[in-house]
């Protein structure tokens, strides 16, 4: 689940390479500017969709390069810069939402707006809004790998938005490439015409020209009336400390320019436009006006991204359109965890950092909470585990915070006997069992694509994770799509890793939220030296509680260093102990020799020992290392 951090991290990055406007726009941009008044028939708004690693970003880079927006030398330096960031963050950073000019073989110049979409299921809603800003999609399929689960999920999503999908077969230069087989697969499985799909190598540039020509031929030009009341879709936004929120939008109807009074129809926020413009490569380029069919940005001294929610409709406050564009919804966090500063004194710093991140990320939520074991911190809500990981990483790297994160959990619905319903995000807040009528947990619909030899192993895995089998279809002789309903809480930890290891990497997986289901859930408490550690409690299905409790105790036994006394580690449901391990008392911690030449070294050793204690959390008499609080995440899949 970690491969696709790129897009998200890039978009949420305040050092985002596009946020500064460069007055010295290069020739390429001027060329774009001259075309600003071009008519709709010369515009193509599209995105590229693909399964992870099928070459989406490489193709985007190649298109940008070949349309002359950046010279190949600039391109290379840009790629190199990104690589540096990539190394620094351990994530990939590549293509952008960008406007490019292409001089076609018919002699005409066209404007392409390439809108990049995040590739991860955590951001499905945001993907759907990005797609809604497009008129067509290029589907990149790896000539060796063929159609994968995400390929399917992305195509269906694109078709849902009435996009014309144009397939491209990539990596035909690989020895294992089988373009003809893959074309057949696309036609059979997805059911779209693919015989004339360009067979390309985005890496070498082979046949990319053909892709550009087909964009003109196959992707429809936008429609919409520039004279109609303004109706623009927000598909992204970033925060800039000078300009406030920069809103990325697609103008569906009407036009927008400096001074236009705007209204965000869902949030009700009002503002006056300060600047409009479009996306150069790596820059925001101001222009006079954006009109129906165009993709660009506006700024309006908006201070909070909460006012410019993705999916909302921008209209003219004085002459509003009749109704907003369809599809807006407020996205709620799916996964929650506690985040605490390792050093309690850094609590205000953590608040500050979370507030700054939230400026760019309306889906990040947090509120203060207190833990007996961990002190003051925040309960934070995320779109998914990847989102959580990215935020955690950014807090640690960009804000230099040392964090203790508790095990992530989903949002449970607790129906109390008095008729009250609680949305439970923190296991510690679970009411007494006597007050609970029943509980519900979130369920996802999962599609797993797997080669036939691993079907058994994957079905076992889904079974273990309390999956409900919904059906299976053979895509071709050797591959099938398995459909399961799975509890979200069973897939947020290590499901993806387990899937990969049991299918030797051949399974691919996609899911979407599919409501709530009543479930037999219990709160599992962990007692260390007979004291309950609130930050280690979690909610688990009654059937798996024993196993989880046992493995949790085993894991904690490894994590907790030996003390001067014996430490029992117990897992309990209510007052019933279901598992126990013991950390043996330390027998010996002594340095046999210490003479004149040893003193400096000996002191360093003692200092290290003392320093180590500082990184521990004191619970009763026991010092618990910070990473132990995340150990529930590492309960390995059965090997």
């Amino acid at each position: 689940m970690t491969q696709d951090k790129s897009f998200y991290a890039r978009r949420r990055n305040e050092t985002y390479w596009g946020t500064s406007i460069d007055d010295n726009a290069k020739d390429g941009y001027r060329k774009v500017k001259e075309l600003a008044e071009i008519n709709q028939s010369k515009i193509r708004n599209f995105c590229i969709i693909a399964h992870i690693d099928h070459g989406k970003s490489t193709l985007a880079d190649r298109i940008i390069e070949m349309t002359g927006l950046l010279t190949s030398r600039e391109m290379q330096s840009q790629v190199l810069d990104n690589m540096e960031l990539e190394r620094e963050r351990g994530i990939t950073i590549k293509a952008q939402t960008v406007r490019i000019v292409y001089k076609a073989k018919d002699g005409e110049e066209y404007i392409f707006n390439l809108i990049d979409t995040p590739g991860h299921v955590d951001f499905n809603y945001e993907v759907s809004r990005s797609l809604a800003a497009c008129d067509g999609a290029i589907l990149v399929v790896d000539a060796a790998q063929g159609v994968e689960a995400q390929t399917l999920a992305n195509v269906y999503l694109a078709l849902d938005h009435d996009l014309d999908v144009m397939p491209v077969i990539n990596k035909v230069d690989l020895p294992s490439a089988e373009p003809e087989r893959v074309i057949e697969e696309i036609e059979d499985i997805i059911g779209i015409e693919a015989q004339d799909a360009p067979r390309i190598s985005a890496k070498t540039g082979l046949n990319v020209e053909e892709v550009l020509e087909q964009i003109i031929a196959k992707i429809p030009a936008p429609s919409g009336d520039a004279k109609a009341p303004l109706q623009a879709l927000i598909f992204d936004s970033v925060y800039d400390s000078y300009k406030g929120v920069i809103v990325f939008c697609r103008i569906k109807e009407g036009s927008i320019r400096k001074g236009t009074p705007v209204l965000m129809m869902a949030t009700g926020a009002k503002a006056e436009v300060v600047e409009v413009g479009y996306f150069g490569a790596g820059q925001f380029i101001p222009c006079e006006e954006l009109s129906a069919g165009m993709v660009g940005y506006i700024t309006a001294s908006i201070k909070n991204v909460k006012d410019t929610r993705v999916g909302d409709t921008i209209t003219n406050a004085q002459s509003p359109c009749k109704e907003p564009l369809p599809g807006y919804k407020k996205v709620n966090p799916m996964v929650y965890c506690g985040m605490y500063p390792a050093d309690g004194a850094k609590y205000p710093d953590l608040r500050d950092a979370l507030e700054k991140l939230q400026l760019n990320d309306a889906s990040l939520q947090f509120e203060p909470e207190t833990s007996v074991a961990l002190g003051f911190g925040y309960r934070c809500g995320f779109l998914g585990l990847l989102h959580l990981e990215i935020i955690q990483e950014r807090l640690e790297r960009e804000y230099n915070l040392d964090l203790v994160t508790t095990a992530p959990g989903v949002v449970y619905k607790v129906y109390k006997t008095n008729g009250e319903v609680i949305e439970l995000t923190n296991p510690s807040n679970l009411p007494d069992p006597s007050e609970i009528e029943y509980m519900e947990e979130p369920i996802v619909k999962a599609e797993i694509m797997v080669t036939s030899e691993y079907i058994g192993a994957i079905m076992d895995l889904c079974q273990e994770r309390r999956g409900i089998y919904e059906g299976m279809e053979y895509m071709e002789e050797t591959r099938a799509v398995l459909r399961y309903r799975l509890p979200l809480n069973e897939i947020i930890y290590d499901f993806f890793d387990a899937l990969k290891s049991r299918s030797r990497g051949y399974a691919s997986f996609d899911y979407e939220l599919d409501g709530y289901m009543q479930s037999e859930l219990v709160k599992l408490d962990i007692l260390i030296n007979k004291e309950e550690v609130d930050a280690l409690s979690f909610i688990v299905h009654a059937d798996t509680a024993y196993e989880r409790g046992r493995r949790m105790c085993e894991k904690l036994k490894e994590e907790i260093p030996r003390h001067l006394f014996e430490i029992p580690i117990q897992a309990a449901i209510g007052s019933k102990i279901i598992a126990r391990e013991t950390v043996r008392a330390m027998r010996k911690d002594v340095l046999a020799k210490c003479y004149g030449g040893d003193i400096t070294r000996k002191k360093k050793l003692l200092e290290k020992q003392k320093e180590g204690k500082k990184r521990m959390r004191q619970v009763g008499n026991v010092e618990i290392p910070q990473k132990a609080f995340m150990s529930v995440l590492k309960l390995d899949d059965k090997k």
């Binding site: 001067l564 210490c594 003692l606 020992q609």
Partner: protein, 368 residues
């Protein structure tokens, strides 16, 4: 006049042992000759500094100092005596290993004023000696020991190592008894430390009870502690008392030089890698001195002093730092006493048996 201890380091050995991380290595005759020359120059360069001090002990350590010729030792002591004022009857020790000593060398030691020998035996079990990578057998040791007694040395220490790979509680008890039966005045018994950079580290990792391939496994933790407890008990039967974590002596034969380190007497170290402590500074030969703050010195006073079974004196702390120890360490003292790791007994603060077992833990609490 202030007291001063002198340490002289001889970094040569016949062959490096499997557990040794000291600065030592085999060397040619020529290298040894040059080393002794430069050592003597280094000692003589302290003529000025020596004025305010009287030397209370000298220790020649290694390596294996007994590798040097008798006359080289004579030369070194000529330099020491010409530079420092050494009182009559102070403890002067040289370390030696079985198989590197002759009657002539012992005679030269006597003539140089050396009055204490420290012999590295390590084990009375020849198999264990092989595992350790020692160059001698127990029988070789017996020969050296008898030769030393015959040469008139009345103060001898024997070094032992416990928790050697393949060692058992029984075999170590046997080593203890066979050593004590010879009645040396002093016995040092160290629990083996697997130091980084030694062959043992590669075999046994970071002190883990692993198996070292063709080498036998390390004794487990319970056996290791048993050996430690047995050391005190068995040597006690032979009239030795433990006065420091790893040191045992017959009454009056505690090693003055080493007590000096734990009592923070000032010392000068000569030779490669030797450490010195003087005027609130510590340095290693040829290196930059480290200034010790008052807090540094309080910490050292405690963690070094607590190595001694007699512990530290509250009066001595107050005299040294002008502040009562309770004021600086009130909380730690109460906490450690409450956990039975330490006792306060009149003027004395000392570790309990359990406190000695986990002394690193206790001592780290005394860091400010």
């Amino acid at each position: 006049m202030k007291s001063l201890e002198i340490y002289v380091h001889i970094p040569f050995c016949v062959k490096k042992c499997n557990y040794c991380d000291f600065l030592s290595a085999p060397a040619t005759k020529e290298e040894r000759r040059e080393y002794v020359e430069s050592l003597c120059r280094q000692i003589r360069s302290y003529r000025e500094a020596s004025r305010d001090y009287r030397v209370v002990s000298v220790f020649v350590g290694g390596g294996t100092p007994s590798i040097l010729e008798g006359e080289q030792i004579t030369e070194i002591f000529r330099a020491v005596r010409e530079t420092f004022s050494i009182e009559e009857g102070v403890e002067i020790t040289i370390e030696m290993n079985p198989g590197t000593v002759s009657a002539e060398k012992l005679e030269a030691y006597r003539a140089a004023g050396i009055n204490r020998l420290s012999i590295g035996l390590q084990s009375a079990d020849n198999e264990e000696l092989r595992t350790l990578g020692r160059i001698h057998t127990f029988e070789d040791f017996l020969g050296t020991y008898r030769m030393a007694r015959a040469a008139g040395f009345g103060n001898i220490n024997v070094d032992l190592i416990s928790a050697v790979p393949g060692q058992t509680v029984e075999s170590f008890a046997d080593t203890l008894r066979r050593t004590a039966a010879l009645s040396p005045e002093h016995i040092s018994a160290y629990s083996l430390i697997i130091e980084e950079g030694t062959p043992f580290f590669a075999l046994y990792g970071d002190g883990a009870c692993g198996h070292g391939g063709e080498y036998p496994p390390l004794p487990d933790e319970d056996s290791e502690r048993q050996m430690y407890y047995d050391t005190k008990r068995i040597l006690g039967e032979y009239g030795y008392h433990r006065y420091e974590i790893s040191n045992y002596a017959k009454p009056g034969y505690e090693c003055r030089h080493n007590l000096g380190y734990w009592n923070r007497t000032e010392y000068l170290g000569f030779g490669d890698g030797a450490a010195s402590l003087m005027d609130h500074r510590r340095w290693v030969s040829g290196g930059q001195p480290e200034e010790l703050s008052r807090e540094d010195e309080m910490e050292e006073f405690m963690f070094l002093g607590l190595r001694k079974t007699a512990g530290v004196s509250k009066t001595a702390f107050g005299k040294e730092f002008g502040v009562p120890v309770e004021m600086v360490y009130e909380k730690v003292l109460a906490d450690m006493a409450g956990r039975h790791l330490l006792v306060q007994d009149g003027d004395v603060i000392r570790l309990t048996e359990r406190g000695l077992d986990v002394s690193n833990y206790v001592m780290s609490e005394f860091l400010l």
